[in-house]
Amino acid sequence: MEPFTTFHGLIATLDRANVDTDQIIPKQFLKSIKRTGFGENLFFDWRYLPNNKPNPDFELNQPRFDGASILVTRNNFGCGSSREHAVWALKQYGFKVIIAPWQERDGSHVPAFADIFRNNSVKNGLLTIELSPDEVEEIFEMVGRFPGLEGTVNLEEQRFVLHLDEEIAFHFDIDAGVKEHLQRGLDDISLTLEHEDDITTFEKSRNFIAVPE
């Protein structure tokens, strides 16, 4: 995986909450046994008309979002199925960063991204950034007002900057482990296998309920 340090790109908005992985990549595309070829089918049911022509009403089909690589959307993005194909589709379409708001509900902090989706994103070098509802609202407003608006992510500094005449910067939090993983582009399996002795010791010491067959 390529290390993620800083990234600069065009911002697109998708004004929908609870976008589930069935929408991100519908089931008919999960039959592939490859890791590639998903980008063209991202958001398939929203993006294309029944005649397979692009749906002009779908936000990401607007010409001003051509070549966008930072997606700003609403709360609970990536909910539902565990399909990693959703992350592959977003990456292969060209997105490197997804930004969404956390929510306050009954006094609880509700994360912006679904758990499994967020895990899958890390494994593929897709950065998910969680901001406050007001901050995300502000980005939506600015993207609406200034077509072609670009942004820069600095992962080391945990900053996202909107490139307006006067720059607007947002700080974001990220798990230390996730940050390091993305910055170094680490391969998890190699890292874990460095602990192979520990795994073997654990297996031997563990009071396993053996599989009788």
Binding site: S32, I33, S81, A114, D175, G177, L193, I199, F202, A210
Partner: protein, 468 residues
């Protein structure tokens, strides 16, 4: 301070705490299926790695398989994926319950049925409904394909420690209300992201009195509340289910006694603390029906379609989009909505008990004239059992299609799909746009609610329905 069920299992599976604050967690059981595994095996081949514990890895095919005739798979791409699983299992030495196996079925139905799922274990699968197995007091959760590859290669996962959330259902359920209604009610209250970052534990008298099948329905839909895992403490009901002689991978004799002694130590200690708790009075729960495009858009069957500006937790735009997709007008009573299809199946509600309950309601009756009814058992074993009890005949006489085992119309990866605009009462778990077929409209309900809807052609309140 005491420990929760989750903490006890988590602590006993930590191989190592890693410097970045995550944990290397040992995985006792790994289930795989055809859709989320091919790229993981490809990764192993590219790096010359082997499967570390083939004895702890079990495979079946479920998502993609036809449920009418499994001898021919007409879709060439589906066929290639099924053949890839056969080759991968053969090459890496993994036990596969394929299409001609009497153990084939939905992965979350066969795990418990074969005794692969046991209390106190960690269990994963490349499928979000792995939470189902939590009904046994198992820490079970869904993972992506990269993690599938990680588990195949190392039998471990790198995980952050989740928080704990206790949901207590106190009192007694109405006789016409089921565990499906309990979980839908919870999702309606906390929302589809209310459990994100947590492991749920379901407790209370209304949970303790449920059968294993009904407990599995609740845990299955934990992910629909955003929680990767949902758990229920193991008890006598759990032990009796496991002791059933037909479970080839469950311990027996002295091993079983030893296991039970350990399993009895697992329930949360009385003074254990949870990060969040919620109590729901079970007696207050009515039969639930979803009206929108996610499982949190749900209400009592006595309700009417809400106005877009009147749904807590959703913006007006969210609700407008959902109602447009669902083809519904605010103010319409749920019981007035005509249905085209009834689907009884999926890892949520296709176990023998679900089929028995639905069959008992339709015995001697005929389905509503214009409604298509499909019954898809969760596994070949469930199908064989149901046929031995004559349930297939009951459903066929009723006018339903009786199918072979698979995920079927829950996600429509096989030919079982809704057509554009068709409206379905479904015992499955997701009412997302297009889930059951592009343009299809899904209402999630219990098997009893689905059976009654198949008779009447629309939803009814089982508590006051004249045929109850």
């Amino acid at each position: 301070m005491g420990k929760t069920l989750f903490e006890k299992i988590w602590n006993s599976h930590v191989v190592k705490e890693l410097p970045d604050g995550s944990y290397l967690l040992y995985i006792d059981r790994h289930l795989i299926h055809e859709v989320t595994s091919p790229q993981a095996f490809e990764g192993l081949r590219m790096t010359n790695r082997q499967v570390r514990r083939t004895d702890l890895t079990f495979a079946t095919m479920d998502h993609n398989v036809p449920t009418d005739d499994q001898s021919v798979i007409k879709d060439a791409i589906s066929k290639a994926q099924i053949e890839a699983l056969e080759k991968n299992c053969h090459d890496f030495g993994i036990e596969l319950y394929g299409l001609n196996s009497d153990r084939q079925g939905i992965v979350h139905v066969i795990g418990p049925e074969l005794g692969i799922t046991l209390p106190g274990m960690t269990m994963v699968c490349g499928d979000s409904h792995t939470s189902t197995h939590g009904a046994f007091g198992t820490l079970a959760f869904g993972i992506g394909t990269s993690e599938v590859e990680h588990v195949l290669a190392t039998q471990t996962l790198r995980q952050m420690k989740p928080k704990t959330f206790k949901v207590a259902f106190t009192g007694e359920l109405d006789p016409f209300v089921t565990s499906k209604d309990m979980i839908l009610k919870l999702i309606g209250i906390i929302g589809t992201a209310g459990g994100t970052g947590y492991v749920l534990e379901y407790t209370g008298d209304a949970v303790a009195s449920l059968s294993m099948e009904s407990r599995m329905t609740i845990c299955n839909m934990s992910i629909e509340a955003g929680a990767r895992a949902g758990m229920i403490a193991p008890d006598e009901t759990t032990f009796q289910y496991i002791a059933d002689k037909k479970r080839p991978f469950a311990p027996t004799g002295k091993d079983f006694e030893k296991a039970v002694a350990y399993w009895e130590t697992l329930p949360s200690d009385p003074d254990a603390e949870f990060d969040r708790t919620l109590t729901i009075e079970a007696g207050s729960i009515a039969p639930q029906v979803t009206w929108g495009t996610n499982p949190g858009m749900v209400m009592d069957v006595t309700g009417s379609i809400p106005a877009p500006d009147d749904v807590p937790g959703y913006s007006q735009k969210d609700v407008e989009q959902a109602l447009t997709y669902m083809g519904l007008e605010p103010g319409t009573p749920l019981t007035d909505i005509p249905l085209d299809t009834v689907f009884l199946g999926s890892c949520t509600n296709a176990r023998i008990e679900d089929l028995r309950r639905a069959a008992s309601m339709v015995t001697g009756r005929k389905k509503a004239k214009d409604v298509r009814v499909m019954v898809v058992p969760g596994s070949q074993q469930v199908r064989v059992q149901a046929e031995a009890e004559g349930l297939d005949k009951v459903f066929k006489d009723f006018g339903a299609e009786w199918r072979l085992a698979g995920c079927s119309m829950c996600l429509g990866m096989n030919p079982d799909q809704l057509r554009e605009g068709e409206r379905c009462a479904s015992t499955s778990n997701r009412n997302f746009e297009g889930r059951q077929g592009k343009g299809g409209r899904t209402h999630l309900v219990s098997p009893e609610m689905a059976a009654a809807a198949a008779i009447e052609g629309h939803f009814v309140d089982l508590r006051t329905w004249e045929n109850s």
